[in-house]
């Protein structure tokens, strides 16, 4: 498959959107301007960008507690997301969901999820709808390495295989589940070994390189759309910040050296170098992209700040579709 310059720039923009938005969100969280728990995706941008860059806009995705990245990479709106993080009525969920429940049904993003692994069965359902209606779409589920230890993941993977559904499983293996290193919670090194247990193919991908992810995803998506059933990608990646928020204090579950080492493989830098070295962009045009996006981020903070909070009478709205309640 040929990767055009346009695609390379598009992938870069997707990553920058995630990065700059999240850095801002991290700063806001540090200064206690965001309520609730914030799980940052910074460091893992190549995965969301590479996969979402390879999708059609109506292909469905489900996400995790670390969901801003997926939605932003799929084209999510800064304003509505920032407003949601602040619990404002103008947010994606009218302030009712917050960071862990970000969703955008227009972009076929079926929700972040506060329950580890719980999005995967929901993706199976979307995939089933695709199959039944023959709409040609595929359904993608993002999940962490830790999530592959929970039952919901297993049931979903097996069901997708048994029913031969158009579904892509994307494991973001950042080597940790909260504060537990992978080797303590599973006896295998590569999560991809699990794909074989369901009878579908899988591949390991450098999750710090958006092009590698894009290529692998494109290949998989083509096969899946062609009716070959589910596939899995294991993207080896890393989160730069703490499990929750920016910098935790509690335990030394990983060393500063390890983080520094991985930061050298920052997916934005990797891709910037490629863009520059291949002459597609120069430092200035890269900076221009960043400036533009940062402006949008700044506007979103302003938008969110000035947005109203939901009103008391919104409490019981949308519990049911018809607004009934007990």
């Amino acid at each position: 498959m040929e990767i055009t310059d346009e695609i390379l720039i598009d992938l870069y923009k997707r990553m920058v959107r995630v990065r700059l938005f999240e850095e801002e969100a991290g700063r806001l969280a540090e200064s206690a301007r965001l309520p609730g728990f914030l799980h940052l995706y910074v460091g893992e941008e190549a995965v969301a960008a590479g996969v979402c860059g390879a999708l059609e806009s109506q292909d469905q995705i489900t996400s995790t507690h670390r969901g801003h990245g997926h939605l932003l990479a799929k084209g999510g709106d800064f304003n509505r997301m920032m407003a949601e993080l602040m619990g404002k009525a103008t947010g994606y969920c009218n302030g009712k969901g917050g960071s862990m429940h970000i969703c955008d049904l227009d972009l076929a993003m079926l929700g972040a999820n506060g329950i580890v692994g719980a999005g995967v069965p929901i993706s199976v359902g979307a995939a089933y709808a695709n199959k039944l209606t023959g709409n040609g779409l595929i359904s993608v589920s993002f999940f962490g390495d830790g999530a592959t230890n929970i039952g919901a993941f297993h049931e979903a993977a097996n069901m997708a295989a048994a029913l031969s559904l158009p579904m892509l499983f994307v494991c973001e293996n950042n080597e940790y589940a909260e504060y537990s290193p992978r080797h303590k919670t599973m006896a295998i090194t590569d999560v991809i070994e699990r794909a074989a247990a369901y009878g579908f193919p899988g591949a390991i991908v450098d999750g710090m390189d958006c092009v590698a992810v894009f290529e692998a995803a494109s290949l998989a998506i083509e096969k899946i759309r062609g009716g070959e059933g589910p596939m899995m990608l294991e993207c080896k990646t890393y989160r730069f910040y703490d499990h929750v928020g920016v910098k935790g204090t509690a335990s030394d579950y990983r060393t500063d050296e390890e983080v520094e080492e991985m930061r050298k493989r920052d997916p934005l830098v990797v891709h910037e170098t490629r863009l520059i070295e291949s002459g597609i962009m120069d430092a200035d045009s890269i900076q221009a992209i960043k400036d533009d996006i940062q402006k949008e981020v700044d506007i979103s903070v302003e938008f969110a700040d000035q947005s109203p909070f939901p009103e008391l009478e919104d409490m019981l709205v949308d519990v049911y579709t018809n607004g009934e309640s007990s």
Partner: protein, 346 residues
């Protein structure tokens, strides 16, 4: 005993909960599930059924029999044993605009899938700020009385009623099966449709055509002046017998079947209690924390001044469901216990 036999067992006629006309067609409770599913699936392409052994085998109780031959393997889907993924299958397809009916063979298995039911299906619309509709129907067989022991006999509706976002439906006869199941499938919210496994062979009048019974509207089965009896699901049968018996002893029961326990038609109940001054609630579930507690609480909140005696509850004792028929027959409430409880009020 094989579950199949239950469905094929001897039918006993009974009056339908609607105005009954003996010349009209009768249908079994289990057969009403199949008929309703088939008719809805004919008229609405977006409806499909998925669950363990619902297809080739037609469900372990047989109440999906014949659907796969008519609608094919894509619309009547045999799934792996994976209750969480079964509910997830329904959620994801419902968000995409289909109207899935997903089956959890025995109600006890809702515990296996509780996260998908209570944390996902129930909350999704709200968490998403209203953006999604979730026309999902979960069917499941509840109730005791078949010596199926502690993990295959429970009535767990109280767990579901406590979770905002779900509707919980408990048909007491074949007529209600048809009318309520139709409403559930056409409803845009997640519903749990609880089939009572001891009712499967019972017949009553059921119209040929599809019809809806509104969710949230209770039904006065029998008017009376002395005591309001609220009976849930299969307990309606026992309460009818009790009312019959008591009418011979000069106690006139008003019998109410809420049909759905979430939403609950509390207005109907309160109105009745305001007239009778007495209330007894009957359900198969464990008494402690059962739906009877909520109903009793709301009655005393809203009809306090009308109450002449404490509200009674007839329900299962505080133990898992015993296997032995010798114990189980005492475990499940029956007409006799209802009679005793009502008499205690006077």
């Amino acid at each position: 005993m094989s579950p199949d036999n239950i469905f094929e067992g001897a039918n006993e006629d009974e009056e339908s909960s609607s105005e009954s006309n003996p010349s009209e067609r009768k249908l079994g409770y289990g057969a009403a599930v199949v008929e309703t599913m088939a008719q809805i699936m004919r008229e609405d392409e977006s409806v499909f059924l998925a669950g363990e052994d619902v297809g080739a085998h037609g469900g372990v109780f047989g109440y999906f029999r014949g659907l796969q031959p008519e609608f094919g393997e894509d619309r009547v889907v045999d799934t792996p044993i994976a209750e969480q993924a079964i509910i997830g299958l329904g959620i994801g397809a419902a968000v995409q605009g289909l109207r899935p009916v997903v089956d959890l063979m025995f109600m006890d298995f809702i515990c296996v899938a509780m996260d998908q039911i209570a944390n996902q299906a129930a909350k999704l619309k709200y968490m998403f700020g209203g953006g999604a509709t979730l026309p999902l129907t979960i069917t499941t067989a509840g109730g005791a009385g078949l010596s199926a022991a502690a993990q295959h006999s429970q009535s767990l509706e109280a767990m579901l009623c406590h979770i905002p976002g779900l509707k919980v439906v408990m048909p007491s006869d074949a007529y209600e099966v048809k009318g309520l199941l139709t409403s559930c499938i056409r409803e845009d919210n997640p519903t749990v449709f609880i089939i009572n496994k001891r009712k499967l062979a019972d017949t009553c009048h059921v119209p040929e055509e599809l019809f809806e019974i509104p969710l949230g509207e209770g039904h006065v089965i029998r008017e009376g002046s002395d005591v309001t009896v609220v009976a849930i699901g299969r307990m309606v049968d026992e309460a009818k017998k009790a009312a019959e018996k008591l009418s011979g002893e000069g106690i006139d029961c008003e019998l109410i079947n809420p049909r759905t326990v979430q939403p609950l038609d509390i207005d109907l109940i309160v109105e009745s209690v305001s007239k009778t001054g007495h209330a007894v609630i009957v359900h198969e579930a464990v008494r402690f924390g059962g739906i009877g507690a909520e109903i009793a609480s709301q009655i005393q909140e809203q009809a306090f001044d009308y109450l002449d005696a404490p509200i009674g509850r007839v329900a299962a004792p505080f133990s898992p469901i015993p296997f032995s028929p010798a114990l189980e027959k005492h475990y499940v409430p029956d007409a006799e216990r209802i009679v005793t409880s009502i008499k205690n009020l006077f």
